[in-house]
Symmetry: C2
Subunit: 194 residues, 2 copies
């Protein structure tokens, strides 16, 4: 972390930054309870604890005025009928946005607010998505064989609240029940008691 | 402007967004006093008031927690020996950063702080540049024939202070004195009196 302007390059084929401060690898075992088909999850995990997605972060002070940023890569695959996806989170400071520029692949951003609104937006290369303040968000890769790669940026003071989504899930799921991606209600969705 | 998540696509060849709220076109006549060679500037302006750069902005509330964003396109060309460039600015709220992802072209970001630090970073496709809080910034296109195209994002409350740079200029210029881009001291730089 430095207070001088700084740059990094994205590898033209993998989009992995040539400099970064933090590399997060989320495996199947990190997604306990998140997938609809718990039997498929257990069977898959018994076979191999696969890496589902990776995040390359550039460190900056976690304060207002700074912009945290990096690259997220969701690999292709499914747990039962459900596509590989990120954990998804609210920002701890709810009134903070996030912006995504999709570099490669195709997928969906699944989003919802504490007030009960929900939205699902398409992700594909050359598309910019704005997630306004208050919207929890999860990215889902619906490609058969290609990584979903995104550049992301959000306010330095946002913070991550993973717990709410871990407990209640998202209202919508993206499944493949034989005809490609479908957006369906999550039968296991239940709000955190307040 | 809406409080729902929203997306736009970038045209694969021009990178112009298929939806935007504000389109700024900066012409030669908007850059009075900014180029080193004032005679070349006057002669060029007498010939044609060319568009030097364009910005496509997405509107969001100008408050903390939001991220303002869009696409900037600097056309290729020179005024005398000096490459086409943006006006450049400090943020009104000095303690706010900006981030750039270069989509096409090649150039430089010329930067400086009120404290007297300066930096010049290379811009090229697939490169991410972080401009930390306090750094004024100007983009310069050094290609002979290609637009310099960048995706930018900055905090909603940042604001633009163009006046300081209009008065004092940047400490460094990017000129072509016959051997391609050179970074040189600006002989006309003089600090705003405080």
């Amino acid at each position: 972390m430095k207070d001088l302007p700084s740059s990094f390059n994205l590898d033209p084929s993998s989009f992995i930054p040539d400099e970064y401060d933090n590399h997060i690898q989320r495996k199947l075992s990190n997604m306990k309870g998140q997938y609809l088909d718990q039997q498929a999850y257990a069977a898959k995990l018994a076979d191999k604890d696969e890496i589902l997605y990776q995040v390359y972060e550039i460190k900056r002070p976690e304060i207002e005025g700074e912009i945290l940023h990096g690259i997220s890569i969701v690999h292709p695959g499914k747990v039962g009928d459900e596509y590989y996806m990120t954990k998804g989170h609210f920002h701890t400071v709810l009134e903070t946005a996030e912006i995504y520029y999709t570099l490669q692949g195709k997928g969906y951003m699944v989003m919802e607010t504490p007030e009960g609104n929900f939205a699902v937006e398409e992700l594909r290369a050359g598309r910019v998505l704005y997630v306004p303040p208050r919207w929890a968000h999860r990215s889902v890769n619906v490609s058969e064989d290609e990584d979903l790669v995104m550049f992301f940026a959000y306010p330095g003071n946002a913070g991550h609240d993973y717990g709410t989504i871990e407990t209640q899930g998202f209202r919508k799921l993206v499944l493949d029940r034989g005809n490609g991606p479908e957006i369906v209600d999550n039968p296991r969705w239940s709000p955190v008691e307040s």
